[in-house]
């Protein structure tokens, strides 16, 4: 090759390399779009919860992409992701159909087929577990907000993050309530547990057994029901037979409805029923049960009562109501927070690279005032569990959940025993 030709080729190659180096990531280009996936049970027994979570996720994307100046959140004012040259987010929702296999498949389809660089969502812990494992294989960040099984963040996964409280966190707030009641002289030693036979239920049951010692209590009944069962007559009988001071449940909506129906059928009314979310947090449960659900408590990560005093939460809740013509609930808020957290990580990373997004998630530190949750903030520990996540306890009073614990922020007095 002539020397001049070789020199020309070298110069052209150098120019090409320089040009490519200066071009940077696609996100840096104005008008670029970052695709995020979202998993939710859009069909099946938890379809209503799935719909709520999807609305919360879509509302978060809408606030990020639009110039939501009225929303006092970091990505509210201004369009798109400011540090990623105002790239916009495209959210692709996929139905897990309450199936772990489906959830994992949907996640892979979102990543490989639709170009998602990260995934949020997940409700049932078992589904989330499968999807999380697939995300680990694909090396894609997966930010979960709705699943509470403690084991999800105890498996040493590198790509799985949870913004919401784990069952342990929820358990602490529930048992703190019990302990405070106990310090005031209320008997809470006999504890009955009714839980599903899946990850959610089993992990929750184990957690309850561990925390029972905090109130010097005993688990007098540990009733396991199928996650697909709607016949809980045996379970009610077993609980009734143990004469518990308090019944703790980890059930999905069908089982929750079935338990209430069976208890009504046998005229059994426990002194107190405290749910670890699940079906009891489903607005459909409250609507279906109506006055029969009065006095039931459930743990939540979000509170509509508190939201009225938090400017960001109030603005988001109002926007949610205007957009979807229904009140924002705990599931929607957690999904909203998970997607918003993921969006903030993409913004911090200023890159569509999954590895960069993961790195940004690891280093993320969002103060509580920059969320809509009554939390200390969002900051992941070594297991990628949000250390700032906190839970509250609400009780159905006059047909709607009211914040009753912690007492310092309670908007209604806890009614114990249940009316």
């Amino acid at each position: 090759m002539p020397r001049r030709a070789a020199g020309t080729i070298a110069v052209l190659c150098s120019a090409l390399l320089l040009t490519s180096a200066c071009t940077g990531d696609p996100v840096a280009r104005p008008g670029a779009t970052v695709t995020l996936g979202f998993l939710a049970p859009l069909s099946g027994p938890a379809a209503t919860v799935g719909a709520d979570t999807r609305r919360g996720a879509e509302l978060a994307v809408k606030i990020v992409n639009d110039d939501a100046a009225a929303i006092p959140l970091p990505l509210g004012p201004g369009e798109g992701l400011p540090r990623a040259d105002h790239a916009r987010i495209r959210l692709l929702s996929a139905d897990t159909a309450a199936s772990g296999t489906t959830g994992a498949g949907q996640l892979e389809r979102l990543v490989r087929g639709r170009g998602a660089v990260a995934v949020a969502g997940g409700y049932e812990s078992a589904v989330t577990r499968s999807a999380g494992a697939r995300a680990e294989e694909l090396r894609i960040p997966f930010v979960n907000g709705g699943s509470s099984a403690a084991s999800l963040t105890e498996r040493g996964l590198d790509w799985f993050f949870r913004t919401g409280p784990s069952d342990l966190g929820y358990g602490r707030v529930v048992f703190s309530l019990l302990k405070e009641r106990q310090s005031e002289g209320t008997a809470v030693r006999r504890i009955a547990v009714v839980h599903t036979d899946d990850q959610y239920g089993e992990d929750g049951s184990g957690m309850i057994k561990r925390l029972a010692s905090q109130v010097d209590g005993d688990v007098v009944a540990d009733v396991e029901v199928s996650a697909r069962s709607t016949d809980l007559s045996g379970a009610v009988a077993e609980v009734r037979g143990s004469a518990p001071d308090v019944v703790l449940t980890l059930l999905y909506t069908p089982q929750a409805l079935a338990l209430s129906e069976e208890a009504r059928a046998v005229s059994y009314e426990p002194p107190a029923l405290m749910a670890f979310g699940g079906g009891y947090a489903d607005p459909a449960f409250v609507r279906t049960e109506g006055g029969d659900a009065e006095g039931i408590c459930s743990r939540f990560a979000w509170s509509a009562d508190l939201a009225t005093h938090n400017p960001a939460a109030r603005a988001v809740a109002d926007l949610y109501r205007r957009t979807y013509r229904s009140p924002m609930n705990d599931d929607a808020a957690r999904a909203f927070t998970a997607v918003m957290t993921l969006a903030q990580a993409v913004d911090e990373a200023a890159s569509p690279s999954p590895a960069d997004i993961r790195s940004a998630l690891v280093n993320l530190d969002v103060p509580g005032r920059d969320t809509i949750m009554p939390w200390d903030g969002v900051k992941f520990d070594d297991n990628h569990q949000n250390t700032g996540a906190r839970g509250v306890v609400e009780q159905i009073q006059k047909g709607r959940y009211r914040l009753v614990y912690p007492f310092d922020v309670a908007r209604a007095r806890l009614r114990w025993p249940m009316p």
Binding site: L306, H309, P367, G368, R369, P406, D408
Partner: protein, 703 residues
């Protein structure tokens, strides 16, 4: 310019500058670097001192916010059922401290310090949330944990200023104190958090689920931070801490913490929250006392370091300036001490070479050696005792040696000239006697052929006599003959031609009538005879040499005698050399001996101010131009434009007599001149002979 690239061609000034320049630049560079570092340190120390001063309002705000946080934690733990007025005091104190902090931070120059600017910005952002946090407390919008976290984050931002300050350069003493201060501030903060947490626990009456591990962790962090402080700090500071943080309150604080831990599993903790709050606050106050003392030390030390560095910078700058000035003065003086003598020496050498020595040599050539007895070489004027002075004195010695040599040569030449004169005089007398004898024979000889041969002998002897006179001229002496009355120019020409061996080839055509002053006659005749001799010698035997005299240009011009031969001529270079010799009467050169006639001409011309030059003839050959100055002319008449030429001047060897002349005719032919020359007084050394009757015809031919 290329020669300047070689050091040997540099001027001494530049050489010395080059010698000094590199070490000077290096020293200047190193000094500048050191001074820049000192100035930079002074700036750094100044900034550090300003930051240390900022710590006072910053830590004041930290303390106020800690108190507010802890009071708020207790208030919230009481389910906001306690006296809300209890928060008024801490909040007002925090607001006052925030105002002081904002004022101090606003006055701080953060340009060029992005870390500090970012830290201050983060603090400002957090402080802006204080109002919202208080509102959340008042409206129960946030849980206790979120509220305490909000305050703690705010305090963390303020405490982050400490490490930012520690990143700055404030000197070793300041660095140690800022490290100790930061460690103690963290310890105070952790102690305050323990106070807040146990406040909440004791107000609730029990540890909530998960609360005891948090409390235990807070206690552990508190102890760890105190240990860190004690490990970081100096012995006096440790002593200060040990002396200050002690007493009943400290012991009670420890005891209450232990009792609370012991009762963690109990349904109700039997410890009065107010007592805990009192003793723990007292302990925190004691720790803050130490913190304040260390802060005071830090400010004092940092300001002292800044002042010290600033003075060092000033003195360094002054010293550097003084050093540069002293160095410049020394270098300049050294350069001057060399260049000035060298310049003087150079000027003296050039003056000697171009003026003094040539003048001296000229005087030596033109004067007697005795005239130079008082000649002394002028010293160069360099009186220094260094090598340059020695060179100057050596040059003076060379100059004196040159003068002595020239003087010796002048003496030698004067001696040789004396010998020339002596020999010439003797020869002149002998030739005079010979001419006298020949004249006597001519008078007695009747045979024309023999008379002709005698005349030729006479002519040759006359030429010998002219040669003697030439030697006398070369020796700088008088020829010994003279003429006491003006002589017509035509007769001068005739006399000159008569002294030439081949006088018959000479044709004289004077165009002007002039009389030559008497004192110049004999020398002019000699001069012209030499030129005519050359003309006949360097031209063909059968060619004529034409001698004319005229005036070129206007009538005020000097008359010029032209001697034109038809010889081979001279090259321009030879012509230039010859003219130079004719013009330079005093210049001797090796070739002067081979052109003695020209030197004689030069001497004679110089003696009377006559200009003699050679020029190419119009055809071929050479023309000698003899310009007669007016002072040599006793009379000059220009011929009419249409005036008649000399009718007889048509053939070689003929000279037409002047038509009119104020001077009396001295002779009528060449032979008459020779006779007259031989016997006239003053013309001949042998003046005892009488001139015989002139046997020449008007045409100058021998009869």
């Amino acid at each position: 310019m290329r020669h300047l690239a070689r050091p040997q061609n540099w001027r001494v000034r530049h050489k010395l500058t080059a010698v000094v320049l590199i070490p000077g630049l290096l020293a200047g560079f190193l000094t500048t670097v050191g001074l820049s570092r000192t100035i930079g340190d002074a700036d750094d120390y100044g900034r550090f001192a300003a930051l240390a001063r900022l710590q006072r309002p910053a830590l004041g705000l930290v303390h106020a916010l800690q108190d507010e946080r802890d009071a708020t934690a207790a208030f919230v733990a009481e389910r906001r059922e306690g006296p809300h007025g209890g928060l008024g005091g801490p909040r007002a104190a925090a607001d006052t401290a925030a105002v002081a902090y904002r004022r101090a931070a606003g006055a701080l120059d953060t340009s060029g310090d992005p870390h500090l600017r970012a830290a201050l910005r983060r603090v400002a952002e957090e402080l802006r949330t204080l109002g919202g946090l208080r509102a959340a407390v008042d409206e129960a919008a946030l849980t206790q944990g979120a509220i305490v976290t909000g305050y703690t984050v705010m305090l963390g931002r303020l405490l982050d200023l400490g490490p930012v300050i520690a990143e700055h350069n404030g000197g070793g003493a300041s660095a140690q104190r800022v490290r100790a201060l930061n460690a103690l501030s963290v310890a105070v903060e952790n102690t305050s958090r323990v106070r807040a947490e146990l406040n909440a626990v004791l107000t609730t009456g029990t540890f909530l689920v998960g609360q005891f591990p948090d409390f235990a962790g807070a206690v552990a962090r508190q102890q760890e931070s105190v240990d860190d402080f004690l490990a970081t700090t100096s012995r006096p500071q440790r002593t200060l801490y040990a002396d200050a943080v002690k007493g009943t309150a400290v012991s009670a604080t420890q005891a209450i913490q232990e009792r609370a831990a012991e009762q963690a599993q109990a349904g109700r903790i039997s410890i009065e929250p107010a007592r805990w709050n009192k003793v723990s606050s007292r302990k925190i106050a004691l720790m803050r006392t130490v913190e304040s003392r260390i802060l005071d030390e830090l400010i004092t030390v940092s300001e002292a370091s800044h002042a010290s560095r600033r003075w060092a910078a000033w003195w360094g700058a002054a010293g550097m300036l003084a050093m540069l000035l002293a160095t410049g003065w020394v270098v300049s003086a050294a350069v001057r001490s060399m260049t000035r003598p060298l310049k003087t020496l150079r000027a003296s050498a050039l003056d000697v070479a171009h003026h003094r020595l040539p003048e001296a040599l000229a005087r030596l050539r033109q004067a007697d050696a005795d005239d130079l007895g008082d000649f002394r070489a002028t010293p160069t004027g360099v009186v220094s005792g260094d090598e340059i002075g020695e060179v100057a004195r050596a040059f003076d010695a060379v100059q004196n040696a040159a003068v002595r040599l020239a003087t010796d040569q002048a003496a030698l030449r004067a001696h040789i000239n004396g010998m020339f004169v002596h020999l010439s005089r003797r020869n002149q007398r002998l030739v005079g006697k010979l001419l006298g004898e020949i004249g006597d024979l001519e008078q007695d000889e009747g045979d024309p052929e023999r008379l002709g041969r005698l005349f030729r002998l006479d002519h040759l002897a006359t030429q010998m006599l002219r040669t003697d006179e030439s030697l006398l001229v070369l020796a700088g002496s008088d020829t010994g003959r003279g003429w006491d009355r003006p002589m017509p120019l035509s007769e001068v020409l005739l006399a000159a031609s008569a002294e030439v061996e081949q006088y018959a080839r000479i044709v004289c055509r004077p165009a002007v009538e002039a009389d030559i002053a008497g004192d110049a006659v004999t020398d002019l005749v000699h001069l012209l005879a030499e030129l005519m001799e050359n003309a006949t010698h360097f031209s063909g035997l059968h060619s004529a040499v034409t001698v004319t005299c005229g005036v070129t240009g206007d009538r005020t011009a000097d008359p010029v005698i032209s001697i034109v031969d038809e010889g081979v001529g001279m090259t321009p270079e030879e012509m230039a050399v010859t003219n130079h010799r004719l013009a330079s009467v005093s210049v001797f050169d090796p070739e002067a001996g081979q052109s003695m006639g020209l030197f004689v001409v030069s001497r004679l011309a110089s003696r009377h101010g006559i200009s003699v030059t050679l020029a190419p003839s119009p055809g071929h050959g050479t023309t000698a131009l003899v310009r007669l100055p007016r002072h040599l002319l006793a009379r000059l008449e220009h011929p009419a434009a249409d005036g008649p030429e000399y009718p007889g001047a048509q053939h070689p060897g003929q000279v037409l007599p002047p038509q009119t002349s104020a001077a009396e005719p001295a002779f009528g032919s060449a032979q008459d001149w020779l006779v007259h020359r031989r016997f006239s007084d003053g013309l001949h050394a042998a003046a005892d002979h009488q001139p015989p009757a002139v046997p020449f015809t008007a045409e100058g031919k021998h009869q």
